[in-house]
Amino acid sequence: MPKKKTALRVNGRQHELALDPNVSLLQALRDLGYTDVKNGCEIGECGACAVLLNGTAVNSCMVLAWQANGAEIVTNAGLGMLGKPHPIQEAFADVGAVQCGYCTPGMVISTKALLDRNPNPSEAEIREALSGNLCRCTGYGQIVEAVQLAASRLQAERLAVAAMPTASLTRERVDEGSRSPDRQLDPKLDRGRR
């Protein structure tokens, strides 16, 4: 079976790969060393393998790597690392929303996708946005709290940045480079196909 040339941009880094056609995006990412993308169920039930694919949260186990050819992918580690965590990751740690930790990268990705679109979600909206991410430890209470805390911190941060004089806007976060544009409803979608 001829291998497929596949270009993936992961957390801002470009990879040119030659993959068998049957390699899932999950497998490709883990083989590249992005092991923060967890392999849970491989049937789209658990959300541990969630990544942002062109800004949309998807289960990477259900995407063929070649279908993602040319796409921009962000994993949990692309948002922030131990020395410089993303406010979402910090909130998960501060609230105690992490027990075994296996679901956390996927939870963080779904949270990022939610807050990019809806900076001030209700509890129902948070639970809906995390509906594809299973946690078998915490009972979800602290996870919801973590999302609320992250939302309020990110909003405070945006206000602080907005209050700064333009010349002093030098602050950058790790994810700025790889952040996809806010995925809002594409007006073209409803405009029809012609």
Partner: protein
């Protein structure tokens, strides 16, 4: 666990996709992959070639004309949930989409995939049945339009031939007074397959008589079905609690759950009664959107 080996084609035009499906033996379209990839991992489905149609422009978008709403087959459930066109003209379908699997799956799963798979528990099928939807199938031999009710044959079985691609699903814009309702019963609040899906659509005149009724079920029979006898029993009648109860009982007769799932008959009857009552109330208040 890796997927079994297959070859993959990524056509850039609809014509190219149709040519591949026609010429290449054992080829199968893939879009969101939320059914096909799971089936391939489980060994239930072994296409030799998968044809990625997710990026074909002709299969995308939600369009409204003077008379119809047309949804591209590769439109995702998430895109349908966000569509102002569907919010205006087909809330019954939007409600079905909001109960569909979970947020991550909705970002990949497509309406075409949901219909072509023809799983007994399809959430979009019963809603689209109440809208009298038609599907459009394309092949190198040409196009054909088929009522969704005819398209769905049995569990995991449709009239689609192996060289055909489902390109769109369309329905007439419901009347301004038509009112729809949808309810899913599953084992959990979210991220579950339907145990029973019920969709209804009612329209009435100023005298409070029912002028049009649609009732459809999923997961309570091998494939989504309409309850035609129950619909016929409502048309021309006042939407009284007695008429609604009689229609609900008739709907249960249209259900055919698997052995051991006879409880679904009672669930169907109760859900249909409640949804018809909800829709009748909304109708009496002037009707909302469909």
């Amino acid at each position: 666990m890796s997927l079994p080996m297959f070859e993959i084609e990524r056509p850039t035009t609809l014509g190219e996709a149709l040519r591949i499906l026609s010429e290449v033996k054992d080829s199968e379209p893939i879009a969101g992959g939320t059914n096909l990839i799971v089936d391939m991992r489980a060994g239930r489905h072994r296409p030799r070639v998968v044809v990625d149609v997710a990026a074909l422009r002709d299969l995308h978008g939600i369009e409204v004309t003077d008379t119809e709403v047309i949804i591209g087959a590769a439109t995702t459930i998430a895109e349908m949930l966000e569509s102002p066109i569907l919010a205006k003209h087909a809330t019954v379908l939007v409600k079905a989409c909001s109960s569909f699997a979970n947020a991550l799956i909705r970002n990949r799963a497509t309406v075409g995939g949901n219909l072509v798979t023809a799983a007994p528990c399809s959430d979009t099928a019963p809603a689209l049945l109440t809208l009298d939807a038609e599907v459009k199938l394309a092949s190198v031999r040409g196009m054909r339009r088929v009522p969704l009710e005819k398209f769905l044959v049995n569990a995991f079985s449709t009239i689609r031939r192996s060289d055909e691609l489902l390109v769109s699903v369309r329905f007439r814009i419901p009347s301004a007074t038509a009112t729809g309702a949808f309810r899913k019963m599953g084992l959990r609040k979210v991220s579950c397959m339907a145990k029973v899906d019920v969709a209804v659509m009612l329209d009435g005149d100023s005298a409070g008589r029912c002028t049009n009724a649609r009732i459809a079920l999923a997961a309570a029979s091998p494939v989504a079905v309409r309850a035609r006898a129950a619909e016929a029993a409502l048309v021309g009648k006042a939407l009284t609690p007695e008429a609604i109860a009689a229609a609900a009982a008739l709907t249960a007769k249209a259900a055919a759950p698997r052995a051991g799932s006879e409880y679904k008959l009672r669930v169907v009857e109760a859900l249909v009664r409640r949804l018809l009552a909800e829709a009748a109330l909304a109708l009496a208040r002037g009707g909302s959107s469909a």
